[in-house]
Amino acid sequence: MATGERITAEGRGALVHLPRQPEAEPLTDPRQSDVDEWGRSEHTRELARRVYGPLYRQLFRVEWEGLEKIPTEGGALLVANHAGAIPSDAPVIMHGIEEELHRPVYGLADHIFKAMPIVGTMWARAGGVAAHPENAYRLLREQQQLVLVFPEGTKGPGKLYSERYQLRRFGRGGFVEIAMRAGVPVIPIAVMGAEESMPIVYKNAALAKLLGLPYVPLTANMLLLGPLGLVAYFPSKFKLRVLDPVHFDVPPDQERYSRSRIMDEAEDIRLRLQDNLYDMLRQRRSVWFG
């Protein structure tokens, strides 16, 4: 190794020109774990898949409609409605697409995860990414990946059971702007079942403020199952409907896009999702059996 030689050479204190350090060995990357730049670990994800598989198949009995609308290559931004005190829809969509289409989905979630010990680390290792426009752009444009985002943010899962399937505001339409900038389509997914898997019956605003969390819920699961209800879902039947992709006919990589165009598109997607949710609810005979 070069280190030893150099130390002795300089130690002699020669006044003559020292020979240039021999060129270092070619660039190697001696990694010891499989954690990638996004913080995901294939090892952890394999473990998560094994735990989540039975939940996906036996508990939620997930059924997809229109899965062929999700491309098998190229970037796309998936948007969906968001529900459940601890949202069950994100892992269902991610697990489902990874099992059925064999391509990874990067789920974007609130930064607050990163500030939480253990939860934040586990979430990142399992495939979650902080919802920063820069992260989304890099994934969609440069790496041509599938990215999942819930435009309602924490307002979706934080709503009471009495407000189920009523879509909240779609943020400021940032998801449309990112899709435009990245030059990828938006693919809306209507999710039915998540609302009933962990319904919120009461929220405490004061406690939430104290703990610095978006909401602190009392769920029906906790009332029925006690402490186990903190993590245990009800076996509601999941149905997911993939809607037609929305392509924006604008050049990518612009500094800004028309604010009104963004709001129009965002509102349009929200209405289509809402309509489809009502349609699916009209057809649903049972919360538990679909």
Binding site: T3, G13, L27, D29, P30, E37, P117, T121, A130, R138
Partner: protein
């Protein structure tokens, strides 16, 4: 005609290293090294000027030596080295005076390169995975070292605007690891167990010390203007950094971390709050702009850690084999100027 270069902070690790590297460069005619303290490495042909960073002295030095290039390595990024006030004096006031001197009427300076740090991006839970050069930090700077670097950078922006004929290069270096450099991070990694924060395992990024010097030489010889992040490829979890060093991690509590770190400080393990933030949230900077400019890294982030681990193992076995260098003015004058010394030109 060769380059005439002024290196600031000659007694610091980087100033000394850089002057040594420049001495081997045949295109560099004159190297003037500036500092308030004596150099700590052996130098062959660097002229050492012991001067404080006051404006009048600096402008006289610039005029007298007719330097065309200033390499400003004298920005302190390790806040454990000095008080906040001294740090402000060096980073902010020193840079202000240096740039004023470089921009004075009739100044011969045609290139200024400044060694800043990715500390200017901070480290928070709202950060993107990669910071690009034009992005701003997500939370305002809390620590003195970060604020002083931001101020120094803003003076450089003003300087670049006022002096369009000067090639201005701002280099933001990621955390450095290497064979010789000692930083709070390197000290933490040499403890029997590496401190970490319970429940957090953030992705960190490193640049190897030789790549730092190579980068400074690169921007000087290629005259590349602009702002560049300098960091090895890839990010790796803090736990993996410890593992490559052959260490276990010792978690600090996630709440009242500062209190715990303060207690460690009492027993000589200094963990500045910049490092605590890094151990909680990590940081990543996009290094592709510098690569597009033509620079080739020799080490990835993990490679820098590995190289550091090897050097530590050697040091643990044989001790610090390099004899401490003591600057003696008369001896240096003799070597540099006496006709009795045979120089191989």
């Amino acid at each position: 005609m060769g380059r005439r270069v002024l290196v600031t902070g000659l007694s610091t690790f980087w100033g000394g290293r850089l002057a040594q590297a420049l001495e081997k460069d045949p295109d560099v005619d004159v190297i003037v090294g500036l500092d308030t303290q004596e150099p700590r490495v052996e130098l062959e042909r660097t002229e050492y000027v012991k001067a404080d960073q006051s404006y009048s002295i600096l402008s006289r030095i610039v005029q007298a030596t007719q330097v065309d290039t200033i390499l400003h390595t004298f920005l302190i990024v390790d806040s454990t080295r000095m008080s906040g006030r001294a740090l402000h004096e060096i980073n902010v006031i020193g840079t202000l005076n240096l740039l004023a001197a470089a921009g004075a009427a009739g100044s011969p300076v045609r290139q200024v390169a400044v060694k800043s740090s990715t500390l200017v991006y901070g480290s928070s839970w709202e950060d993107p995975v990669w910071f690009r050069e034009e992005m701003a930090r997500t939370h305002s700077a809390k620590t003195r070292v970060e604020r002083s670097l931001l101020e120094a950078e803003s003076y450089l922006h003003d300087f670049a605007e006022d002096n369009p004929h000067v090639v201005v290069t701002l280099l933001r270096f990621s955390n450095v690891l290497g064979t010789d450099i000692i930083t709070p991070t390197s000290k933490a990694l040499q403890l029997p167990a590496v401190p970490s924060i319970l429940g957090f395992d953030p992705l960190v990024q490193f640049v190897e010390e030789d790549d730092v010097i190579r980068c400074l030489e690169f921007v000087m010889s290629e005259q590349v203007p602009g702002i560049y992040n300098v960091a090895g490829d890839g990010r790796l979890p803090w736990s993996e950094v410890a593992r490559i060093c052959g260490k276990r991690t010792w978690p600090l509590p996630p709440v009242f971390t500062n209190v715990a770190a303060g207690a460690l400080g009492r027993v000589g393990v200094e963990l500045p709050s910049e490092l605590l933030d890094l151990m909680r949230y990590g940081r990543g900077v996009d290094n592709r702009r510098l690569k597009r400019a033509g620079f080739q890294y020799r080490y990835t982030s993990a490679g820098a850690v590995e190289n550091f681990a090897r050097a530590s193992r050697l040091r643990n076995t044989v001790g610090d084999s390099r004899p401490a260098y003591k600057y003696e003015r008369e001896v240096e004058n003799f070597f540099q100027h006496s006709p009795a010394v045979v120089r191989n030109e």
